[in-house]
Subunit: 425 residues, 2 copies
């Protein structure tokens, strides 16, 4: 009835038992009359293990050889899944990135897909087979193997779905969809039936990591409908697509992110061009500044703060230490205990007063806002890390996102996952 | 100075540390002015582990998918070795079986090499690079990945050596060459400088498993000189080649083999065609009979014995049980405690009296011979397993193979191997 691309991540194929579980799931989809193409990641931690081996023999492995090495992980899982399907009596055929026609640019380790040749997959489907495609990999114009970077299998799945014009690209994982916020933080979080691509991208970029951002960008660009759902239940998950909802909430979800730090440069002379000099130097050294805060001038000097990812901190420190004497500032300090809480929703565009309501809510709860940034569909506020959980909860309630029911624990142990997978399928 | 193909087995590349040891060895060969091509097996027990995974998802995995799965093992080791060489400043390039131009027939799991395209390897050598080739794998005419069967990496190495017209194909392992007999059995065993292809084949087929028989057959057919040597010492090993030695010993080596069993069918009517009926049935059921012994008739009935590999025993039993009533024989029994001791040497052809000397030697030592078989360069005798070690020792002395020195323990622990590998190279 439908043409479905179904992607299973490393956790879902981490053992022969789980691979058999995935095969049963695909077989059920096939039996229900669908045509189905599977896309798989490497088993469990295989990619990390291969990377560890490479680093053990070469501290700085050349990208081309590294890609050849890493690509073997998915070749193992794709073959095992095809074998498992065959064992159940379902004709299957596995395809490497090359064989699936995933053509990329030549940027090894984080290649971009430039073309998808769909012939072999369509041919296999016509022959009644279940194609199993290796995620994460492709070939460049020289015929060399490339990999798409972390989480690249999501992107492969979307690209294949686009290439064969599938009805839906189902991304299976150990969570059952996209929530209004992290249920472990706010137990009244609600699973969303639908989010738009833009909302998903804003949610991803601020720490709600269900789907790879690149995959969502690709899906948006090419109009592929994504269905994020659980590998361990039959329940519907969350659709990611372009949609004009009839009844639209102002806010779709609330993300939080503790991965940034705040750097404050003290007592900067309040002269024209000084702040520009600092930020130009940081930009030239590839420090990704997110928010910038310049306090009111006092005695002809001011404090300048900015936030950046923790990973950029060494570069930021180096730059500031070089610039400090030049601009005549006194010192700098780093605050690691900050969190960014973001309201996301396309409804914000047409609803005035969102910021006001957010600020008032936090104010009434004595939560101090350190910095603010916005996009057309996002309002981000930096607060102290210790306040993050409470901030998410009060905003979740204030923007009427609370569900009737209280969420139970989502984190499953390996045994629980195995038990769920073997249950009745 | 020379063009060398150097093959390293699974033990030699079992860990990042050992891979670095192999890289140092290749680098030293390169520094000495040689052009060198490496051929590698999968790391340690990788192939067995992949086979285990396949069997866990599919009790009878289709050969084509299985070959795709197994071939990833060498893709990992070849890439890691290339990375290790690069890290030492030696330009390297890895080649899968496909890329190395190893073309095979379509018999998956035990494909035969039909052609070797040498262009890419020669091109890499011209560019000053060290090519690293995945052993054990090739492609068939459909472009599907094939594997060459157990020990296929030796065959790959010989095929590559032939394809690029190398001066020598060096096969590195944890033993330092071919011995007159197993040194663990006869401590006065001597390492041979040279054996001929035919001698090596006879020695291999009767249990002196240093080199894959198929690789030796291939080398004989195409005139490739093999040098079997230790991965852990610089000492010369044993050359396998066509050679007219000036000073030729009558016997080159003594092999022993405990992998066969003796089956005896009791009280078979001594009528024309009865024995033929038994052996035809066994042959049709693919039981590899090695030696056949028919005892003197007594009361119009006789006992018929044959030896066969232990692996063929279930088939043999099944066949005999079906045939027994038909031929009117009484019963059968199986003797697992036998050993085959074989004298091997091209010198046998031109030296009469070898058999007589062997039989006399065993007779003088009260070792009973149960069966005999011969080839132009081999004399095999089946004896009781408990006598095997003593038989090898007395024959080794009788045929003047004893060395001056007494062999010390050759079996190294993993730690000793690691220590040797890290020592000063």
């Amino acid at each position: 009835m439908s043409l479905i691309v179904a992607k299973f991540g490393g956790t879902s194929v981490a053992s022969p038992e789980r691979i058999k579980g995935v095969a049963r799931r695909l077989a059920a989809m096939h039996d229900a009359g669908n045509q189905v193409v599977a896309v798989v990641s490497a088993m469990g931690k295989t990619t990390d293990e291969l990377m560890g081996l490479a680093n053990a023999v070469n501290a700085d492995p050349p990208a081309r050889e590294l890609d050849r090495l890493l690509s073997t992980g998915e070749q193992v899982s794709m073959t095992l899944l095809a074998l498992a399907l065959e064992a159940m009596g379902y004709p299957a055929i596995s395809f490497t990135g090359r064989q699936a026609g995933i053509e990329t640019n030549g940027t090894h380790n984080r290649a971009k897909i430039v073309r998808v040749r769909n012939e072999r997959i369509l041919e296999a489907l016509s022959a009644g087979k279940i194609p199993v495609v290796a995620g994460f990999q492709g070939i460049d114009a020289n015929g060399d193997i490339t990999t798409l970077g972390r989480g690249g299998s999501d992107t492969t799945a979307v690209a294949v779905a686009w290439g064969i014009d599938a009805d839906v690209c189902e991304i299976y994982s150990d969570v059952d969809g996209v929530y209004t916020t992290d249920p472990r933080i706010a137990p009244r979080a609600r699973k969303l039936d639908v989010v738009t691509y833009d909302e998903m991208l804003e949610l991803s970029s601020v720490g709600a990591g269900v789907l790879q951002s690149r995959a969502v960008e690709f899906a948006k660009k090419w109009g592929v409908v994504i269905h994020s759902r659980s590998a361990f239940s039959e329940a519907e998950g969350t659709y990611v697509r372009e949609e004009s909802r009839m009844e639209q909430a102002v806010i779709t979800g609330i993300a939080h992110d503790k991965s940034e730090m705040k750097v404050t440069i003290r007592h900067v002379p309040d002269t024209t061009g000084v702040a520009a000099k600092v930020f130009t130097a940081l930009g030239e050294n590839s420090v990704n500044m997110d928010m910038i805060i310049q306090n009111t001038s006092l005695d002809g000097a001011t404090d300048i703060s900015f936030t950046c990812p923790a990973a950029d901190l060494p570069k930021a420190k180096e730059t500031i230490e070089a610039v400090l004497p030049e601009i005549g500032a006194a010192s700098y300090d780093v605050d690691e205990d900050i969190a960014k809480v973001s309201l996301v929703g396309t409804g914000m565009k047409s609803t005035p007063g969102v910021s006001a309501r957010a600020f008032r809510t936090l104010g009434e709860n004595n939560i101090n806002i350190l910095a603010i940034s916005t996009s057309p569909i996002r309002l981000s506020m930096v607060i102290e890390a210790s306040e993050a959980q409470r901030a998410v909860q009060v905003l979740h309630t204030a923007f009427e996102l609370d569900s009737e029911s209280v969420f139970e624990e989502t984190q499953l142990s390996a045994e629980e996952i195995a038990a769920k997978m073997n249950k009745g399928r």
